[in-house]
């Protein structure tokens, strides 16, 4: 694969202030929690890059920084040349960000929302209509195009969210826990679609704690623990003589030994 860096993060760091209540819950006296601690990594054009780690490792925080929802305390990341710190609006135009935290307004229909978000992304009406038709058919939303989101099933809502996040056909797709909370059928639809996107030459960054998902989908993986990138390599290389789970726990025990 051509080593063309499209996403580059250097020294990303993010801390959160803890309230007294949070300090009690987490049984710590530290007033500040370091969520991401000097993270460096690169993702190449056209690959699926997985960020793997346990809950609380800093995966979501990293992806939120990359999608400009939150600002890093220090460090920076460049998405196709645009800095998340100094040029967040350009970054937002280049990426499609999908997470279960981003909800669609219950009151509107998929059809309305697709048009609305296309308009915000500056997609021309002809392009939009063709894209909408294709995507709605691909995910079976066409039958529900005029049904309010409130009246749709959870799976259909997820599919609609996915489609809406891609109205502008971005080259880089950031996906936080893509199969979390999905039933097996919808999860399969999503993973198949990610493969398809990769075949179209898109770059995909996803976070997960599921080993099999990384093995199945990702070209390369970065393992994150306690806000630090402890290992970053191609999945093929890492799983040459054992599976990813073993690699992961080996790293865990190494870290504990230190």
């Amino acid at each position: 694969m051509e080593q063309n860096v499209i996403v580059k993060a250097t020294g990303l760091r993010k801390t959160f202030k803890l309230s007294k209540k949070q300090q009690n819950i987490q049984k710590t006296k530290d007033k500040v929690k370091v969520a991401v601690d000097g993270l460096d990594f690169e993702a190449y054009r056209g690959e699926i890059f997985g960020i793997l780690g346990p809950n609380g490792a800093g995966k979501t925080t990293t992806l939120r920084m990359l999608s400009t929802l939150i600002k890093p305390d220090s460090g920076d990341a460049w998405i196709d040349g645009a800095s998340v710190v100094s040029n967040p609006e350009e970054v937002r135009g280049k990426i499609g960000f999908l997470t279960s935290e981003l909800k669609l307004e219950d009151f509107f229909t998929p059809n309305y929302l697709f048009n609305f978000f296309s308009e915000l992304h500056g997609v021309a009406p002809e392009v939009r209509d063709a894209r909408k038709k294709a995507m709605f058919e691909r995910f079976g939303i066409d039958e529900f195009a005029e049904v309010k989101v409130a009246n749709m099933s959870t799976g259909m809502k997820q599919k609609t969210s996915l489609v809406i996040s891609l109205v502008h056909d971005p080259d880089i797709i950031i996906f936080d826990e893509p199969t979390n909370g999905l039933d097996v059928l919808t999860a399969r639809v999503v993973t198949d679609f990610l493969q398809e996107l990769k075949e179209q030459g898109k770059t995909i960054l996803l976070s997960t704690h599921i080993f099999s998902l990384v093995e199945k989908l990702c070209d390369r993986v970065g393992i994150v623990m306690d806000g630090k990138m402890v290992l970053c390599d191609s999945v093929e290389k890492l799983t040459k003589d054992r599976d990813l789970e073993d690699v992961f726990f080996e790293i865990c025990s190494e870290m504990e030994a230190k």
Binding site: K71, L102, K103, L104, E105, L120, G122
Partner: protein, 392 residues
Amino acid sequence: MKSDLFTIIKKEFARFFGDKRMVFTALMPGLLIYALYSFMGDGMSQMYEPDENYVYEINVVNMPQSLAFLEEVEEVNISKIQEADADAVKDAIREDEADILVVFPENFDAEMLAYDVMTATTPAPNVEIYYNSANTESSGAYSIMREVLNSFEQSIANKFDICQGEKEYDLATEEDISAMVISMMMPMLILMMLFSGCLSVSAESIAGEKERGTIATLLVTPMKRRDLALGKMISLSTFGLLSGLSSFIGIMLSLPNLMGGSGLENVKFGYSVADYAVLLLVIITTTLLIVGMISIISAYAKSVKEASTMASPLMIIVSLVGVTNMMSSGMPEELYWYLIPIYNSVQCISGVFSMDYQMLPVIITCVANTLYSGIFVVVLTKMFGSERIMYT
């Protein structure tokens, strides 16, 4: 991008007008006010005036000859009773079974005529009227008797009269009287209507979107935060204004009824188109200001409920400022007063309604309000950009 602003406004309008429940909630206060005030107006007059054909039962002990004419009056029925029965009648009054009991001293006529305020050594003869103020008929009978006795007293010891006869002594026109009453009530009513109208839509649109996580979806698009803030404020002001307008129309329609209850039957409005235009201008800029304040509170709050709770102290302040015009006479002359938000609007609204205002203070008020709203847009833009506020 200009078009993003337009897109946001379009979406907010689609959201508001597409939702019958929301439109209904916003416009309902107006209907309710009309129904309520009309009812209150009618109710109030009915409360103090029993049935027109009611005949008051008046029990009298020691009926004096001088008041014999009462027996001819149609509205009352005089029953002469003995002093010994007085206690029984008092009990009956207490139980709402009798209207009133009037006890004259024995030889009332003679004592009364003999009494001279300059030379008297004993107190004047006392007429006792026992009544029950919780009973409409009893109160009515009491007022009648009091009035009769008062005018009787005045007629026997008359030295001079004030404003006697059929002439018009109050030279204020009906417009003036209506204008005065309305200008006292209106600023607070308008502010309260606008505030509650704006609160429901703004809290829903900003705190609600934050609570449901839909605002984050908007924030990952390349749209400028400023367009989102401005688009929301423009749309919300329109809805707030509509809701306020519906309440306003409700009040205006029910005013004649309401005033009927307080004795001002013929309310007349002498306002010109220019007066209404000035009023509208002041109200629009005030709405922007109120929406700005509530939007900031809503953006800070974590939920619609929290936004409403946090906005209530502001509502109290606004309504307190709304009554300041009742304590002052006319609009203040010093122009710096018109830089104080809300207070300036109250003075202008009151000025317009009392038909006594100048253009300069109104212009300063509108410019100041627009300027403050502009500052609120900037603050809201910053808040939309702040992760601490948006993702807590």
